[in-house]
């Protein structure tokens, strides 16, 4: 029995095919005889027949085997996580190697497209919002203008006069002095009571600043009662006013600007100034307040501002 004449090691698959070596290339070969025996024993640990590696993703069992063979402690591929934080290998395998990724990627792509669409829609929305803002600003400006025009005292006065209201004469207005906390208590009490009927007789309650001479701002300080009563139902005059805390609260500003009144009809103020009769006025009694014609100073030019002699009246 002769040994097989093959000196080359076994092939990758462990077969014993003979490798042909060209004698013309390579380093000078060692003499087979001098190198030792021509036959070498197979390593004892090598399996006699290793299963062929199949294409495709490794199965979990294969991976487990590979990991186990590599030695977790030496390669450092695993994070030094405590056991309870470590995902099961099987789950990792499923996550990485499963077909779920296809769905995930598809979902992500759809999401990106949807997000882009959403951004575009957002842009459209911003555009519309800006247009709407401009529209509102425009309307606001127009309304502010209309509000100003409609609140014109002249217009309100005209409307009030058409309804028979007349201006309160300044003498018909009476002012009451404030009484500090007493007024506050009375006002609070009046607020708690039910509203008075609209047939409340016209009364006047006004307040003044505590000290004469101090700055007197109208709003909230002085109230003019009966300001909303038509003249024909109001009899409040300078002598007929009474002080009532529960009187309607219309500020003098409002009352004055709206043309409502407490004075008797006929006392309406008209804007036209009356040319006051000169009787009693010294200057009015002398309508010619210039230097007499023919006087010497009238002929002489004035040195300061003009010629002649000015004789201004009062």
């Amino acid at each position: 029995m002769t040994p097989p004449p093959v000196a080359a090691p076994a092939g990758r698959n462990g077969d014993s095919r003979r490798r042909r070596v060209s004698p013309d290339f390579g380093p000078p070969r060692r003499s087979a005889r001098s190198a030792g025996p021509r036959t070498a024993p197979r390593p004892a640990s090598r399996p006699a027949s290793r299963p062929r590696r199949l294409s495709g993703p490794a199965t979990s069992r294969q991976r487990e085997a590979a990991l186990a063979g590599a030695g977790a402690g030496t390669l450092g591929l695993r994070l030094p996580l405590p056991g309870y934080l470590r995902l099961p290998d099987r789950l990792i395998d499923r996550l990485i190697g499963g077909r779920t990724w296809i769905a995930v990627i598809a979902f992500a792509l759809i999401g990106i497209v949807a997000m882009q669409l959403w951004v575009v829609k957002l842009g459209v929305g911003i555009g519309r919002a800006l247009e709407h803002t401009q529209l509102l600003q425009r309307e606001n400006a127009v309304l502010a203008g209309e509000d100003s025009a409609l609140s014109s005292a002249e217009r309100i006065e005209r409307l009030a006069l058409a309804k028979g209201m007349v201006f309160a004469s300044p003498g018909a207005l009476h002012f009451d002095k404030t009484r500090g906390s007493l007024d506050v208590r009375l006002a609070a009490g009046a607020l708690a009571k039910p509203a008075q009927s609209p047939t409340t007789p016209a009364t006047t309650t006004t307040t003044t600043p505590p000290a004469a001479g101090s700055e007197t701002e109208p709003a909230g300080e002085a109230t003019l009662a009966a300001g909303t009563q038509p003249a024909n139902t109001t009899r409040a005059t300078a002598g007929s006013t009474s002080e009532t805390q529960s009187a309607p609260t219309t500020t003098p500003e409002v009352a004055a600007s709206t043309g409502v009144a407490t004075s008797p009809a006929g006392s309406t103020e008209t804007a036209a100034p009356t040319a006051v009769a000169p009787g009693g006025s010294s200057e009015a009694a002398a309508p010619t307040a210039v230097a007499p014609a023919g006087s010497s100073e009238a002929a002489s030019p004035a040195s300061d501002a003009g010629g002649g002699t000015p004789t201004p009246g009062g």
Binding site: S152, T216, P252, P273, A275, G280, S282, A289, G314
Partner: protein
């Protein structure tokens, strides 16, 4: 099996072919034709829009809007692109508020750009563009802009002034505070889709709205003052008239009106007429004040201790000063008048006597101390400073003119400030009209004392006599209130002769109330009243009375008694 292989091969070839085509197309669009396409896309999809700044609002002290800007549209056209100008002008003229002939003329110009309407209200501008689109009229475009509106029309027109179509203030507060009001325009980059819908908007520069001005004016008092001046105008037919209402303790102007009125929303077409109408005569009218100036001579002499309210003077009917003889307004025998009576009866001879008592230099000093000869500093444009002679310029007869308010020029606001000093206890304050900017109160200049409080009180007491029986404005009263003031009737120079006219006068009244503790002051100046009377006591004082009768209770100022 071979059949399947063939089909796979064909499918692969088809996909490969499609991929090749796509790659080629991408190369063509992205590289070979990319620049041109990018340019087209930019021009069609990306626009840089100008965002006009909203000009600041002007309100009165109560927030009533006096001037506001609202979005508007300017319609322009490229006449070369308008195919049928006749039809276009026929349909668009009513909407543009223009005549068809004028519109046709504009659309027939040999130009690439013409304005059809500027700063139309936004709704109207949109209607014009919608109509043009509906009728397929090409070549029209709309530019967003702002238009200034004045909701109260004539109210405080000369004070507010006007802003031009380009948004710049041209007169009044619109001009003086243009830097605050105008704001700054912004730029916006808009990317639109194929349908013109914006899909991306980004501010290149953000616009900044103008500041909001809150004035010291009170719209209701202003309206009343203007109504009174209108009545003065209709009764006395003066050349013009002006009135100022202010708080003597702060110098805050509550009303400032000029007549004739001007409607800011319907300005006159003539430039000269417009300029004249826009003039705020309360600050620009130089006039000889007449008897209202007598308080300067009297206050100075009182402060110097030369006289007291009860000092008696022997007052003849006339007085000789150098080569001139000055008469009192009415003939009277020689009489003894106190200082108080001199003011109440407005005696020229008496005032000249007091002026001569002071002497030229002292009198001149008091004229300047009361603020004459210099601008008051009110925050309004176009203020004149008047003209006050220096002692070196005096002639021999100057002291016969100056103490009675002739021979010097003042403005209504100067007079109002001087009387406010008497009313508030002797402190000359700068009148002001802007109360706050964007809600922040403006810093008020400190006043300075010109006469002592006691002298001011004495002068106030003496001025009550003017409206008392025997005074020159005795017919004027406001029930429940004690008034004080001074009438003035000043001769005007006739420009033709250079002499004082015998027909042209300035009637004025300066007064305040309540006399014991003045809280409101009013000045009325009527230039050349033509019919009826010419005197301050009969022309201006009644107007003062009517204004005060409204304003005192309106402001909650309690009656004196």
């Amino acid at each position: 099996m071979a059949h399947a292989q063939n089909r796979i091969g064909v499918l692969f070839a088809a996909f490969f072919g499609l991929l090749t085509i796509a790659a080629g197309r991408t190369l063509y669009l992205g590289v070979l034709h990319g620049a041109a396409l990018r340019k087209d896309a930019n021009s069609q999809q990306v626009t840089i829009e100008e965002v006009p700044a909203q000009r600041g609002t002007i309100t009165d002290r109560n927030g009533t809007v006096l001037a506001i800007s609202e979005p508007a549209g300017t319609i322009s056209a490229d006449p070369y692109l308008v195919k049928n100008p006749l039809a276009a002008s026929e349909h668009l003229a009513p909407l543009l508020g223009d005549s068809q002939a004028a519109l046709l003329r504009a659309l027939s110009q040999h130009s690439g750009f013409v304005y059809l309407a500027r700063a139309l209200p936004a709704a109207r501008a949109k209607a014009v563009m919608a109509r043009a689109q509906e009728l397929e009229i090409t070549g029209l475009s709309e530019t967003a802009t702002m238009r200034r509106t004045y909701p109260r029309g004539t109210l405080a027109a000369q004070v507010l002034g006007v802003a031009g179509t380009e948004g710049a203030g041209l007169s009044g507060l619109e001009y003086a505070d243009n830097a605050l009001l105008r704001g700054s325009a912004g730029q916006r980059r808009v990317v639109s889709d194929a349908h013109g819908q914006p899909i991306a908007i980004a501010d290149v520069h953000r616009e900044a709205s103008g500041a909001q001005l809150t004035l010291t004016l009170d719209a209701n008092i202003q309206q009343r003052v203007e109504a009174v001046l209108n009545a003065v105008g209709s009764v006395f037919h003066p050349k013009d008239a002006t009135a100022i209402v202010l708080r003597p303790d702060t110098g805050a102007v509550l009303a400032m009106a000029s007549w004739p009125q001007l409607n800011l929303d319907a300005l006159p077409a003539s430039k000269a007429t417009l300029e004249a109408a826009l003039e705020n005569r309360a600050v620009s009218f130089d006039y000889e004040p007449g008897s209202t100036f007598k308080v300067v001579a009297v206050s100075g002499a009182l402060q110097r201790g030369l006289i007291t309210p009860t000092t008696e003077f022997d007052i003849p009917d006339q007085i000789q000063v150098a080569d001139r003889t000055i008469h009192d307004a009415e003939e009277h025998p020689e009489e003894m008048l106190t200082t108080e009576q001199i003011l109440a009866q407005s005696s020229n001879v008496g005032a000249i006597t007091i002026g001569k008592l002071e002497g030229e230099n002292t009198f001149n000093e008091w004229v300047h101390r009361f603020g004459f000869g210099a601008r008051s500093g009110v925050d309004l444009p176009g203020e004149e400073m008047g003209k006050v002679l220096e002692p070196s310029e005096y002639s021999g007869s100057s002291m016969g003119n100056l103490p009675i308010g002739q021979g010097e020029l003042v403005t209504p606001i100067q007079m109002a400030a001087a009387y406010a000093a008497i009313a508030n206890g002797g402190v000359l304050r700068t009148p002001h009209i802007v109360a706050a900017v964007n809600g922040h109160p403006t810093k008020l200049p400190a006043g300075h004392r010109i006469i002592s409080a006691s002298i001011a009180s004495e002068v106030r007491q003496m001025l009550r006599g003017v409206l008392a029986p025997g005074g020159t404005a005795s017919e004027v009263s406001v029930p429940g209130y004690q008034l004080a003031g001074k009438t003035g009737t000043a001769s005007k120079i006739d420009p033709a002769t250079g002499q004082y006219s015998e027909t042209a006068y300035v009637a004025s009244f300066m007064g305040f109330a309540p006399a014991s503790n003045p809280q409101l002051e009013c000045a009325v100046i009527v230039d050349e009243p033509q019919s009826g009377s010419i005197y301050g006591g009969t022309v201006a004082a009644p107007a003062f009375g009517q204004i005060m009768a409204f304003a005192l209770p309106y402001l909650g100022i309690p009656p004196s008694s």
